[in-house]
Every structure is written in structure tokens, then in C-alpha cells.
């Protein structure tokens, strides 16, 4: 265990930590991977942690998070006497998933860390995959997560030791959704860096649910990088659920690499968190790709959520559509930064970008930057952004039918968020998230003692107390 104190800057300490622990970091590397780590560290030395002077980070201040003291571990660490079985009881009613658990960034499993199914699907720990499937690992690891994107990505690429590894071979449709549950539970402040790698072969199909949760109220800094390779004509349905405590800082960088004719749908649901930054990078590396990038965020108190989306249209005939909606309460801050790049030869591109926000108080802040950068002429691109309040006429309509202010507000806010939730294609998951959003809007959903998906056991369905006959 290493303790990172605030006597020196975190960046300097990380560099020292890397230099002092070569044996631990490089232990199962091929020389090529070691080189990639070293290059990544050099990039980190140059970039450092981002600060407010950086255009992309102007509205997200990490000073406090970076000044705290953290512990850093090079091997799995759990609190003593912890009941793993109790923490990971996550299940979604009526939905069977293949569940993968990560505690403090380390893969947990009883059966050697990796499973190879009969149809060739591999699911398991990244550390084990590196040893057992070096070819696959070397071919994809660090290929899509561009060090130059930010200091966090470079640092993760240098340090990454564990995370989730998923491989779906060509022509395989995975029936059962895979659920990754990433829980932070420790008695000290910790800094966690995990790296996930998901590879989809040609014509394959996968549904992936990724959950980030805190169990306790310790401060944590989590720097996650997920690399996803979507092969030709493959299809990925990706859901991300975030329910962290109010002092957690989560930097979540997702890199999607799409080959031709592939389809991606990613949906990010942020319910709670201290500082959450989601960076989505989508590169369309072939013709006829389709990407739907959706998100909904519900923040209050002093929470901060930042969604960054970068869609790179490098080839013709691709489509992308972004829709992010947020409800911002109390003194919370929401940031959206969308960037669509249409490269010179990417003709016949269709790209849409939309960010809608509801501000509930005068202390809340929304910063929205929907950017378009277009170098091809035969394209249809549009973007829109709105910031406003709940519609007064709709409120009046509901109130005049005898619905209380509270309930009318709930109903309108819920309807606003539902546009995103309705895009969830896994029915039981949709019902569950629907339920959680309602609870969240009522202030009943807190950072739970249990995993988000488990804690709100649906004993009786939650309904608005509205007499529908009056409407």
C-alpha cells in the first residue's frame, strides 16, 4: 500500500510511484505493453492533471479532489471482515444477467478470474486475460484510449493493472446481458484506476450494463478507462448507471471504436455523485456506422456532473445522434460539452446533438457547449441546447385538475427524464431504472448500503398518487 499525501502534488507522486513500482506494474507485460505504459507516463508527465485553464476542463474544478490524501494499491485490497456476498447481491428482478463484480477496481471471483463459455465468449479479469490471452490483449489494450485526450487517460494507460475483460467472438450473439458492478468500499480514502477492455467480433451482439456505486461515505478518486472495440456489423447496447456518494470523484473515460456497419447505443444514467465526469469518445472507423449516445442526469446539493461527448465521423454514410437531458437542483452544476467532428471525406453524414436542461433553483448552474466542426459539404448536422424551467402551462393544467404542486412537479420532471429512459431496450432494466428515477426525484434514493440495483427491492411498485380519471 502506498499513501499519497498532500505534501507533494498528486501528479509528482504518481510519477514517483510508477518509477518505484516497475516490478509490480510490468509483472505480466510483454515488452511492447511495457513500452506503451512508459510512453503513456511520458505523456502524463507532460500533460499532468487537467486544471481550469484547460479549455475542456474550464467548468469542472478538480482542485479539491486532487489535493486530498489517498491510498493507492497495487494488489487487491478489501476491508477486513467484509461480507462480499452481502455487498454483491445485485440483481434486477426478472432479469438474469451474467454478473461481474469489481471491488475497489479489482476483479473478484472464485473461479480463477476468467470464464470461457462454450460459445467462445470470454468474461473475466483483465489481469488474468493479459496472462492467458496475450494475443487478444496486446492487439487491443491501449489502442483506442488516446493518451493525448487527457492526463487521466495517460495515467490510467500507464498504471492499469486490473479491470474487466470481455471478448465476444465473431458471429456470436450473447443472449444474457453482462452486468459489471464496480463498488468502492474501503475504510480509507482511495485512488482507484481500473481499465476495462471489451472486444466484439464481427456480426456479434452484446448487451452490457455497467454500474458504478459507492457503499460507504469515504472520499475516493476513481479514474476508469473503458476501451470498446465493435467489429464489423456488430452491435453493442451499453448502459451505465452511476450512483456514487457525495464525496466521490469519478472520471469515466469511454472509448468506442466502431468498424463498418456496426451499431452502438450507449445510455448513461447519473443519479448521484460528488464530481462525475463522463468522457465518451466515439470513433467511426468505417462506413454505415450508427451511434446513439444518450444520457440523463439528476443532480442536487453540491454535486457536479460533466458529460463530454466527442464523435469522430471519419467515414461517409454514418449516423450519430446525441441526446442529454438533465434536472439540476439546489447548488448543483451540470456541464455538457458535445463535439461532432466531420472529417473532409465523410459525406452523407447525419449528426444530431441535443442538450436539454431544467434548472430548479437560482443557485444551480448549467454550462452547455454543443460544438460542431465540419469539413464535408454533403452532410446534415444540427445541434440544439435549451435551459429552462418546468412548463408553467403544463403545471397549471395539472394543478387545475387537483394534483398537488409536489406531484405535478414530480410528474413533469419524470416525464422530462422518461424520454431517455424509454430508450432502454432491456425491459426489466427499464422498469427498475424508471423506479429509481422516481425515487430519486422524491429524494428517497440515497447512496444505499447496498448496490443500487439491489437496494431498491421493488416490493410494491411506486406510483404517483394521482387520480388519473381527473386528467
Amino acid at each position: 500500500m502506498e499513501i499519497l499525501t498532500k505534501d507533494f502534488s498528486l501528479a509528482a507522486q504518481m510519477v514517483k510511484l510508477f518509477d518505484d513500482n516497475h516490478d509490480l506494474i510490468f509483472k505480466s507485460d510483454t515488452p511492447e505493453i511495457t513500452d506503451r505504459r512508459k510512453i503513456a507516463l511520458e505523456v502524463f508527465k507532460r500533460l499532468g492533471f487537467p486544471d481550469n485553464k484547460d479549455e475542456k476542463w474550464r467548468n469542472t474544478d478538480l482542485k479539491k479532489s486532487l489535493q486530498a490524501e489517498y491510498n493507492y494499491y497495487f494488489e487487491p485490497t478489501f476491508q477486513k471482515g467484509i461480507d462480499l456476498a452481502r455487498i454483491f447481491q445485485c440483481n434486477i428482478p426478472h432479469l438474469e444477467t451474467d454478473m461481474i463484480s469489481q471491488l475497489n477496481g479489482w476483479f473478484i471471483s472464485e473461479n480463477g478470474g476468467i470464464k470461457k463459455h462454450a460459445d467462445g465468449v470470454i468474461v473475466g479479469s483483465l489481469a488474468v486475460a493479459q496472462k492467458e490471452f496475450p494475443d487478444l490483449f496486446d492487439q487491443h489494450f491501449g489502442r483506442y484510449a488516446d493518451n493525448e485526450k487527457s492526463g487521466f487517460v495517460a495515467l490510467n494507460n500507464a498504471f492499469a493493472c486490473d479491470g474487466v475483460f470481455i471478448y465476444v467472438p465473431d458471429n456470436v450473439q450473447v443472449k444474457m446481458p453482462i452486468q459489471i458492478v464496480n463498488i468502492i468500499h474501503h475504510d480509507q480514502n482511495i485512488f482507484v484506476q481500473n481499465h476495462n477492455l471489451v472486444i466484439l467480433g464481427k456480426n456479434s451482439q452484446l448487451q452490457l450494463v455497467q454500474c458504478d456505486d459507492s457503499v460507504d461515505h469515504q472520499r475516493s478518486l476513481i479514474n476508469t478507462v473503458t476501451e470498446v472495440f465493435i467489429g464489423e456489423n456488430a452491435s453493442l447496447d451499453h448502459y451505465k448507471l452511476q450512483n456514487k456518494n457525495d464525496v466521490a470523484t469519478l472520471i469515466n473515460s469511454l472509448f468506442f471504436h466502431q468498424e463498418r456497419d456496426s451499431r452502438l447505443s450507449t445510455n448513461c444514467i447519473t443519479l448521484n455523485g460528488g464530481i462525475i465526469r463522463n468522457e465518451n469518445y466515439v470513433r467511426m472507423n468505417g462506413e454505415n456506422c450508427e451511434a446513439n449516445i444518450l444520457g440523463v442526469y439528476l443532480v442536487d446539493k453540491f454535486q457536479h456532473v460533466d458529460n463530454q461527448v466527442f464523435v469522430d465521423h471519419a467515414f461517409p454514410n454514418c449516423q450519430s445522434s446525441e441526446l442529454f437531458k438533465g434536472i439540476v437542483d439546489d447548488s448543483a452544476r451540470a456541464v455538457f460539452n458535445g463535439h461532432i467532428l466531420v472529417r473532409p471525406d465523410a459525406q452523407k453524414t447525419n449528426a444530431y446533438q441535443n442538450n436539454k436542461n431544467i434548472l430548479l433553483t437560482d443557485k444551480a448552474t448549467v454550462n452547455s457547449q454543443p460544438f460542431l466542426e465540419i469539413y464535408a459539404d454533403d452532410v446534415k448536422c444540427s445541434h440544439g441546447a435549451t435551459v429552462g424551467q418546468l412548463d408553467e402551462t403544463a403545471m397549471f393544467y395539472l394543478r387545475s385538475r387537483g394534483i398537488s404542486i409536489e406531484n405535478s412537479r414530480m410528474l413533469l420532471m419524470y416525464a422530462f427524464a422518461a424520454e431517455i429512459i424509454n430508450h432502454i431496450k432491456i425491459e426489466p432494466l427499464k422498469i427498475r431504472i424508471d423506479d429509481m428515477v422516481k425515487k430519486r426525484l422524491r429524494g428517497e434514493l440515497s447512496v444505499c448500503e447496498q448496490c443500487v440495483l439491489h437496494c431498491s427491492t421493488m416490493e410494491k411498485p411506486i406510483n404517483f398518487e394521482i387520480d388519473l380519471s381527473k386528467i
Binding site: L360, N367, V387
Partner: protein
């Protein structure tokens, strides 16, 4: 005067940049480069009071401490500030009393530009202040205006004759610490226009300034200050041209507008600096800071711009809506062709309650050019019930050009509404087909469609300008089809 179709066509297709001539006038120039001595030289030349020199030196010292900004979506070689002549003026022998005494060469220049000072004075009822190489050469209509108490003169005259007003308002909207080019301008500005409209006066004529860079290697640094006192109204127009040269010339201007309670100021620009040739050589680097402050309640500032010239345009006319119920507007058409680059847009900063702003921006890019809209809409905590609507459309003509949109939206209160929408597209084949089928050539069809597309902005321009702007649009896009 009727012209037959052929002559018009000839005129349109042959004209490249028709203002590319150079007038040989005896010039008074400072040596190349920039240092405190040059600033003292400029100040002494203009016979300025000490406070003005102090202001310049403070700005210069601040300028030395900062770096040129690089966040804009522009690419250009570094500007060597030591190669620029910061002061160039037509040699004047004595104070001029009337037009007869103006250098005939100079009058000729303005005739070629289509602004015959004499004629305009009599016919169109527009008061013109002509600025050549950053020194004001002639202001017309002064008498009529002075009867109403309106002050419209060159900046240097204002410094001499109305020092209190200048001292009160200079730097109050764009302080010299604002940005790199504002600091540079504050240090070396040579002239410009000054305009003051007293309480309750509605200016009966359009005020107009014509800027021209003439000499080689010079930079033009003019400064415009417009103050509208309570309940006043003025419409102000600005036009610019420069000779055709191979090297790049720098233009870094400042425009400050102050609108008091109930005042309304309308500022229109047709910017047609030399854009460089078809290969992207030469042209003006246009780095301009324009900002208006709605200081009083219910005041209104409206910016309209047609940007067709300059190799590089870096310009964000802004409104600070300080007074309650104040209104800010921005209408823009920016055309880039060949290798031109434009990074332009607007900032609307809402400070007062119930303030309103509108941004309509139309970008047209052709050739190898790059055209960016960059705008900020900020609703501060105090700006309750404020409203903004922004619309930025881009039209792409050709597959080698770029059109970009970088809006920034910041909202800090719950009662304001901000809307932003943007689209990027090309001229649809259906529209073209429809026109061509009816015997309209591809070129004219595009001109027609582009003009229709820009109409929303053009109709905001004063009449005299609207005609010129429409012509400019078609000339700028010429040869961009096919």
C-alpha cells in the same frame, strides 16, 4: 440608370476585389516596430494630453506581459510586431476647413470607393467620417449635427475638444486589460470616430465611418466610441477596404458603445478588407474587439455585420446587458471563400432582470475556407426572467471548406430561458434544379439562394448598406460553384 443584363454579368464575373487599388499620397510614417518611444511619438504627433499618453503606456506595459491568444479556430503564421508601422497618416499641412482643401488624390480615392464625400453629403443625408490609414481625413455634416448637440468627429478631435467625455468613457466597456489585441490597440490607436448623442435626441441622419488601409506594412488601429445618452437614438454604419497586397496587414480595432437609459444604438458593419488572392496570399488580419454596454434600463444595442473580407476575422461583437429590461441583438452574415478564415460570433452577458437577446448568425463557406461561429450566452444569477434565442446556420459550398459552431451557454438562474439551435447543410440539389429548370444559371441560382438565406440579416441593414451588402455577397462567392 438602366444597364443591360450582359454588362452586369460582365461586371460581376470580372470583378475580383475591386477596392484593391493603391493611392499614392504623401504619407507621414513612424519607423517600423513598437516600443515606448513609438507610443510617445504617436501621442506627440497627435498633440495629446498627458492622461492619454499615460493610458497608452499603461496598456503597452500590460500588453508586454500577455501572450497572443491561440484558442480560436484559426491558423496563421506568427505576427511579427516589429515589422509593422504603427503610425501612417496622409501628410496634412494645415487644418482643413472644407472639402475643397482636401487633397484631390484623396477625394479621388473615396470616389473610387463609391463614397463621394461631397455627393453623399448632399444627396443621401449620411454623415461620413472617413478614416484613411487610421487617421480621420474628413467628417461631413458636422454643422447639422452640432445644432442638435450631437458630437460626431474623429477620435483625435474628441480628445482635444471633449476631453471630459473621452476620459469618462474610454476603456469603460473594453478595458485595456481585456485581451491581447485590445491592449495593443489601446497602446497604439491612431484615430477613429467619436460620437455622442445627448439626452432625448434622435439622430436624424445615419452616421457612417469609412475605414481604409492604404500604405504598405502598416497596421490600422482605430478606436470607435459611441455614447448614447438617455432616450437617444442613433444608427451608425462602418465600412472598410484595403489595397491588394501580397503581405498580410494587421487591423486591430476597438469599438465601444455605451447606451444609457432608454437609448437605442444600431451599429452596422460591412467589412470588406482585402481577403487575399485565390491562393490565400496576402490579406488583412482582422482582430477586432467590439462591445456594447446597455448601462441603463430599457436600453438597446443592435449589431449587424456582413463579413466578406479579411484573410482572418477574429471578432465577437458583444452586449453586456446591465440595465433591467435592456435588449441586445446580433445579426451576422459571414462569408468566407478561397483560403479565408473567420472565427466570429457574439457574446450576450445578461446581468439585469428581464433582459432579452437575440443572435442570428449565418455562415457561408466556400473554397478552402473555414468559417466558425463562436458565441457565449451567459445568464447570471441576478438576470431573472431573461431570455435568449440563438440561431446559427452554416451553408457549405464545396467539399474543401469547413463550417464550425462553438456555442457556450451558461445559466445560473432558474427563471431564464436560453435556446440555441444550429444547422449545417449545403444547398440542396432540389433547389438548384428548380432554379435551373426555369432557365436560371447555376451561378445566379446560388446567388439567389444565398441571398434568400441571408435575408433575415440583410433586412436589418440600413438601406444604403443593404444594396452594397447584397452585391458583395454575390461577388465574394463568385467562382465557388462547380
Amino acid at each position: 440608370m438602366e444597364k443591360d443584363g450582359n454588362t452586369i454579368l460582365d461586371e460581376v464575373t470580372k470583378s475580383e476585389y475591386k477596392y484593391g487599388f493603391y493611392t499614392d499620397i504623401e504619407m507621414d510614417m513612424a519607423p517600423k516596430g513598437l516600443n515606448e518611444d513609438i507610443i510617445r511619438f504617436i501621442s506627440a504627433k497627435k498633440n495629446e494630453p498627458d492622461w492619454m499618453l499615460e493610458f497608452r503606456l499603461k496598456a503597452y506595459r500590460y500588453w508586454l506581459t500577455i501572450k497572443e491568444p491561440n484558442w480560436a479556430h484559426l491558423h496563421h503564421p506568427a505576427i511579427n510586431y516589429n515589422e509593422i508601422i504603427f503610425y501612417a497618416a496622409p501628410k496634412k499641412k494645415k487644418q482643413l476647413a472644407g472639402l475643397d482643401e482636401v487633397d484631390p488624390e484623396l477625394l479621388d480615392t473615396f470616389k473610387k470607393l463609391g463614397i463621394s464625400l461631397e455627393e453623399q453629403k448632399r444627396l443621401s443625408g449620411v454623415a461620413v467620417d472617413a478614416v484613411i490609414d487610421s487617421v480621420s481625413v474628413k467628417t461631413t455634416f458636422t454643422d447639422t449635427l452640432s445644432k442638435l448637440g450631437i458630437i460626431f468627429c474623429s477620435f483625435s478631435e474628441a480628445v482635444q475638444n471633449h476631453p471630459d467625455l473621452v476620459k469618462q468613457y474610454i476603456g469603460s466597456v473594453v478595458p485595456y486589460t481585456d485581451n491581447y489585441f485590445a491592449a495593443l490597440n489601446s497602446a497604439v490607436f491612431t484615430d477613429g470616430s467619436f460620437c455622442y448623442i445627448p439626452k432625448g435626441v434622435r439622430c436624424p441622419v445615419e452616421l457612417s465611418t469609412y475605414f481604409r488601409i492604404n500604405a504598405a506594412n502598416t497596421g490600422q488601429f482605430e478606436r470607435t466610441l459611441i455614447v448614447g445618452d438617455e432616450g437617444s437614438y442613433v444608427s451608425y454604419m462602418e465600412g472598410c477596404t484595403a489595397p491588394q497586397r501580397d503581405e498580410n496587414q494587421l487591423h486591430a480595432a476597438i469599438v465601444e458603445i455605451v447606451a444609457m437609459k432608454d437609448a437605442e444604438i444600431k451599429y452596422s458593419t460591412v467589412q470588406n478588407w482585402y481577403p487575399g488572392n485565390a491562393k490565400g496570399e496576402g490579406g488583412i488580419y482582422n482582430f477586432v474587439t467590439k462591445r456594447g454596454m446597455c448601462r441603463g434600463a430599457a436600453s438597446k444595442i443592435s449589431w449587424t455585420q456582413v463579413e466578406t473580407g479579411s484573410a482572418i476575422t477574429w471578432k465577437y461583437p458583444s452586449c453586456i446587458l446591465m440595465g433591467d429590461h435592456s435588449v441586445g441583438e446580433f445579426y451576422s452574415v459571414a462569408v468566407t471563400n478561397n483560403y479565408q478564415q473567420a472565427d466570429t460570433g457574439s457574446k450576450m452577458i445578461h446581468l439585469g432582470k428581464n433582459t432579452k437577446s437575440t443572435i442570428i448568425s449565418k455562415g457561408i463557406s466556400a473554397g478552402h475556407s473555414s468559417n466558425s461561429y463562436r458565441g457565449l450566452v451567459r445568464m447570471t444569477r441576478r438576470a431573472e426572467n431573461s431570455r435568449n434565442f440563438s440561431q446559427c446556420d452554416s451553408l457549405l459550398l464545396g467539399d474543401k471548406c469547413g463550417a464550425h459552431t462553438f456555442p457556450y451557454i451558461q445559466t445560473e438562474n432558474k427563471s431564464s430561458i436560453v435556446e440555441h439551435e444550429a444547422t449545417t447543410s449545403k444547398i440542396s440539389d432540389d433547389q438548384l434544379f428548380y432554379c435551373q429548370q426555369r432557365g436560371i444559371s447555376a451561378e445566379s441560382a446560388i446567388g439567389l439562394i444565398v441571398n434568400g438565406y441571408a435575408k433575415e440579416v440583410l433586412k436589418q441593414l440600413p438601406m444604403e448598406f443593404a444594396v452594397e451588402a447584397q452585391k458583395l455577397l454575390s461577388i465574394s462567392l463568385e467562382g465557388s460553384v462547380g
